[in-house]
Symmetry: C2
Subunit: 214 residues, 2 copies
Amino acid sequence: MNESPGVADLLGVLAYAELSAFTRMTEDAATLAPTLADRTALCELAVAEYQHFRLLYDRLRELGADPERAMQPFAGALDAWHTQTSPADWLQALVKAYVGVGIALDFYREAARRLDPSIVELVDEVLTDEGRAEFAVERVRAGVAADPAVSGRLALWARRLVGEALSQGQRVAAERPELALMLVESGANDQAEISRLFAKLTEQHGKRMAALGI
Amino acid sequence: MNESPGVADLLGVLAYAELSAFTRMTEDAATLAPTLADRTALCELAVAEYQHFRLLYDRLRELGADPERAMQPFAGALDAWHTQTSPADWLQALVKAYVGVGIALDFYREAARRLDPSIVELVDEVLTDEGRAEFAVERVRAGVAADPAVSGRLALWARRLVGEALSQGQRVAAERPELALMLVESGANDQAEISRLFAKLTEQHGKRMAALGI
């Protein structure tokens, strides 16, 4: 690769995030959706994630990188996140899909602000799918309206999702400092900048929770 | 629907077959693929199955049918097939993908021979993907070359796959006689015609086993 060494890391982590989201959403759709229409809706989202994965995979190849080697260092953290946040029911699955896609999109946007034009283009393509997870909002709000008691339970669940994501994110940032540094303004205090990035992701997460009504 | 009553059944069984194949292949890819490249190859095939599912789903809607209602009667038999044929390793997963896609394509072809032009068009679209499962042939042959002892084991596995498929097929034919009758020349002895159809599917299966070298 001719790019800066962190670019393969960045594309690799996003690629494995999309691939594992595709797998888990497909599984959640099959095991938790109450109807075939619900199952289809979540599968649509899963397949859109797969298409993002393909974009990243092909981009890695174009850059002369080995996509498998680029993804491998992040498989552990992302698989651990999914294992720790395996949804117990359909509403949890929807909240997870919405939260997960949202965090990923924030991450793409941050990356696009710092990086070379090739990433910006790719981000634009991914962002055309931004509205796809909106079906989850509608269904979660309907679920909360039908039984207000689920609201608190789902709020806790969402907090756990983002908490585990930040924890895995810290682990990745520690193991791959180059990747973390690509995402922040380089300055005197890189660790503080990374914390600020995480604070920003958390703030965006709060807005999404408000949208869900939990 | 203005079509003959069996058309929704036919599109429904094919749609659920594609949806469940998509789900199971995605799961097998995540749990059994030895490398991320292998996982990606099987996911590609899974997503192609999903795209066939969407064609069938949209076609059902266009015909004024409820896709969920059309699929529901076949979910039991198809899920049972998958449960009974859960692959134990990567080569079994590849053989299953190849055999399953092959049986489905034979089924599409038989349906196209008997049915109205709307199905024929859809079948043409599906058949453009006919070569997609070929990667499995190459990998299974390589697996057999590396360890000739697996050949017999995989041959037994393939026999089980088709045996369970015929058994579930008989169950569906008994429960939905209209569907079965759409697929055979109507004649004095419908049961014999259905058996002849199954014999034809089995013959095609034999050719695929020869291609796999097992």
